[in-house]
Symmetry: C3
Subunit: 316 residues, 3 copies
Amino acid sequence: MKKLVWERKDLLGLADLSKEEVELILETAESFKEVSSRQIKKVPALRGKTVVNLFYEPSTRTRVSFEIAAKRLSCDVINIIADTSSVRKGESLVDTGKNLEALKIDIIVLRHNSSGAAHLLARNVGVSVINAGDGWHEHPTQALLDIFTLKEKFGKIAGLNVTIVGDIAHSRVARSNIWGLTKLGANVCVCAPASLLPAEIEKLGVRAVTDLDEALKGADCVNVLRMQLERDERSIFPSSLDYFKEYGITAERLKKLKKNILIMHPGPLNRGVEISSEVADGKDSVILEQVTNGIAVRMAVLYLVSQGKEKYAFNY
Amino acid sequence: MKKLVWERKDLLGLADLSKEEVELILETAESFKEVSSRQIKKVPALRGKTVVNLFYEPSTRTRVSFEIAAKRLSCDVINIIADTSSVRKGESLVDTGKNLEALKIDIIVLRHNSSGAAHLLARNVGVSVINAGDGWHEHPTQALLDIFTLKEKFGKIAGLNVTIVGDIAHSRVARSNIWGLTKLGANVCVCAPASLLPAEIEKLGVRAVTDLDEALKGADCVNVLRMQLERDERSIFPSSLDYFKEYGITAERLKKLKKNILIMHPGPLNRGVEISSEVADGKDSVILEQVTNGIAVRMAVLYLVSQGKEKYAFNY
Amino acid sequence: MKKLVWERKDLLGLADLSKEEVELILETAESFKEVSSRQIKKVPALRGKTVVNLFYEPSTRTRVSFEIAAKRLSCDVINIIADTSSVRKGESLVDTGKNLEALKIDIIVLRHNSSGAAHLLARNVGVSVINAGDGWHEHPTQALLDIFTLKEKFGKIAGLNVTIVGDIAHSRVARSNIWGLTKLGANVCVCAPASLLPAEIEKLGVRAVTDLDEALKGADCVNVLRMQLERDERSIFPSSLDYFKEYGITAERLKKLKKNILIMHPGPLNRGVEISSEVADGKDSVILEQVTNGIAVRMAVLYLVSQGKEKYAFNY
C-alpha cells in the first residue's frame, strides 16, 4: 500500500480533509509527542522557517500553544495581535497576507472573527495558512487534539460514542469535531438548549437532543464546550446558574450513568457554569492531557503544511 | 582604491550620510537578499547579539520587518511597545536608553513620534541606534529600501526621474527619499496640494509642483505616499474621494503618459484614496518587492551598525 | 566541607531562604556575569527549556530583564501579558498555571498584584515558579541584584550599614532587601514618613526612623525607593515637591555627611521626587550597574531553579 503524503499547503478545516489525511496528522502528531518529554525539547525540523501568529481575536491559549509548538520545531515566531497592527489603519486581510508573503515568511497561523477568513487568505497567498479559529466555522487543530486524545485513550475512533454539550450553534470547536469524528466513524451526539442547536445540524450526520441525561446515555466521552458568556450581551439563559442546573456536567449526573465517561473540555473552564470542579479535576477528566496533546498536534500540522507548501510551490 | 568601511555606530537618517555610505548599505543589502530565498533563511552573522525594538508609535509593519531581519541574522529580539512600557511611569527616553544599554543589548531600533528622538538617544548611549521613523523627520530604512528597489529595476540611480506624491509636509518617508535620491544623482519632483508642500522644500534640491499630471510627465517612477488620514482630525481635503480625484494615481491618468512608470508605495495602502487598486496590483507596481527588499536592507543596516559599534567602542 | 546544592524548584522570596542559599545564588550570578560581556552573549545551559513570563501587572523593565537573561541561557521565551490573556475570560491563576504545565514548559516567571500569588501557584504546579513581584510582599530578584551589587562594591555584606528610604509600607523591594540583607549580617535602617512605616517593621530586625538625616548618618549605602505615585489616588504627601523637600536624596544633603554613600535605586527613577538628577547620575551612583547585575542574578536564578526542578521531579 502506498503511504499517503501530505499535499496541501494549508490546514483550513476538517470538512475539506479525507479520512486518510486526518489519520496522517494524528500519526505525525504521535511521533512528535515524545519531543516535549525530552530534556532538550527541540528538533531542528523547521529551522530557518518563520511562523507568524496573526490574531484578530485575543486568544492567549491558542497563540501560546502554536508559539511553543513552532519553537520546538526550531522555527522563528512573530506575533501580530490585531489591536496593535496596521489593521487599525484599515488594511485588508488579503493585503496583510500578501505583505507577510513578501517578507518571505513560511506559515501564517490565523485567528479571525469572520467565518471563511482562513479560506480567503489561503486562496490569495502562496504561504501556508493554518486556521486557528474563524468565526463560528472551524477550529481544526482543537478538534484534532480532541480526536488525538480520544484515540490515545480508546485506541480507535470508529464506533466511539461522543457527546458534545454546549452552545453548538456558535461553536467552531463543535463543528470541527463533528466533521473529524464522523469521518473516522464515531457516533456523535450534540446536546444543547433548542435555541443553541442549529436548524439542520442532523444533516452533518449527528444526533441532536435537548435533554442532557439522554445525550449522556451510552456515551464513551463527553466534550463539554465553554459557554461563551462574554460573546454577546443577549441572555440565552436567565443566568449561568440556570444553565448549570440544566446542562452543567456534575458528579451527581454522571453517577446515574453506571459507566465511566471520559471528560473533555477545550478550555478555559467556566467552573460551575458548564462543568463542576469535581468533574473537571476528577479521575476521568483528560482536560490537561488535551492541552499537552495540542502541542504535538500543532507541531504535526506545522510540519505537514510546510512539506505541503514545497510541493505546492513546485507545481505552481 | 580603498574600500569604504562603515564607521558609524548608528543609522539616524540619510541627511547625514555620504553618497559612499548610502552605496555601501545598498551593496551590503544586495549580498543579504539571497538569504531570504534559501531553504534555511538564517545566517549566524549576529548570533548572541540582542536587538530591542523600542516603539513609541504602533507600527506592526516596520516592527515585524526589523524583527524578521534580526532573526535571519540570528539575533535575539526584544519588543518594547510603548503602551505597556515604563514610559507610562514617566521615564525619559534617555533613561530608558541608558537602562537598555546597562542590559548589554547591542542595537535599539527606535520608532518615536518626536523629530530628533533618534539623534537624542544616539548621543546618550553607547549602543547602536537605528531610526525607524522619528516624527516628520526621517525614516531612513524605508527610503533605503525604496532606493534599493529602484536600483534593482533600473541598474542605477543617477539621472532617474523620481516623483513623490502625497503629504510631503508631514512625511518622513519623503524627506529621507529626497536626501538619499539627490545624493545619488536622481532628479526628484515632489507633488502635493499647496497646503501639504513645505515652504522651502526646493532648497533640498527638488522640484515642487501642485499639478499631478505635470509631476508625472517624464517620470521613471512615482512613489505614492500614504495619506495619513488618521494622523489628525483637521481635514486637508473635503473628503478622501476629493483627494483621489485630484491626486489619486489611476490607470486612466497613467495611460495619458505614453510611458510606463514604476509604481512604489511604502504601505499600507489606502486603496481608492491615493492609489487605485488597478495600479497598485498592476504590472508596473513593485510595492510587494519593496516589502521583500526591506528585509535585505534592514539586515544590512543591522549588520553595518554592529560593525560600526565595535569601531566606536574601540576609539571611545 | 560539602558544597551546597540548590534543591528548590522555585524562588518565591528571600524570607524562606537560608543564608547559604542566598550566597549560592550570588556566587552563581558571579560566574554568569561574564557572559554578557562576551562577543557572543549566549551559553547553551538551558537550551530547549521554555520560560513563560506571566505578567498580571505591566512591568517592561522586569520582563525585559528576565527575557534577556533567559535568552542568554538559550531558553525559548513566551510572554503572556494579562490584558490580552484568558485572564479576562475569568480563568484562575492556578488553572492558568496548570495549563502552562500541561504545555510542558519549564519555568513560570510570575508578576502579580496579589501578595502570596507566587506561593499559591508554586504549590499547585510541578514547574518552577520565580516570583517577579507579588503585591507588597516580595520581589526577590530585585533584592538579590541589590545585594549582589553591594557585595561587588564592598567585598562583603556582613557589617554593612544599609539605609532604605521611601514608601516602606507598600514596597516589596524593601521587604525582600530586609530579609536578604539581615540574613547576611548587614545593619538595615528603614526611613519613611510615619504613615509609610509599617507598624511592627522593627520585628524584622531593622531600625526604623522618620528623619532622613538621622537615617543617612553612618550609612554605607542608601537604597532609594521609587515613590509609586501612580499606585493609588490617595495623597500621602501634599505634592511630590513636598516629598522631595523632606525625603529627596540631594547632593546638599549628602554633602553634610562627611562620607561617600553608595547610591542605589531599583528604577525607574522619578527625578526630582525621591532623588535629584545630580545624585542619580553622580559618581557614587551604581543605579545602572544594578541593571547590569540584574541579568547575571536572573540567569543564576533561572539556572538554579531549573536544577532544583529536576531534583524535585526525581523525589516527587
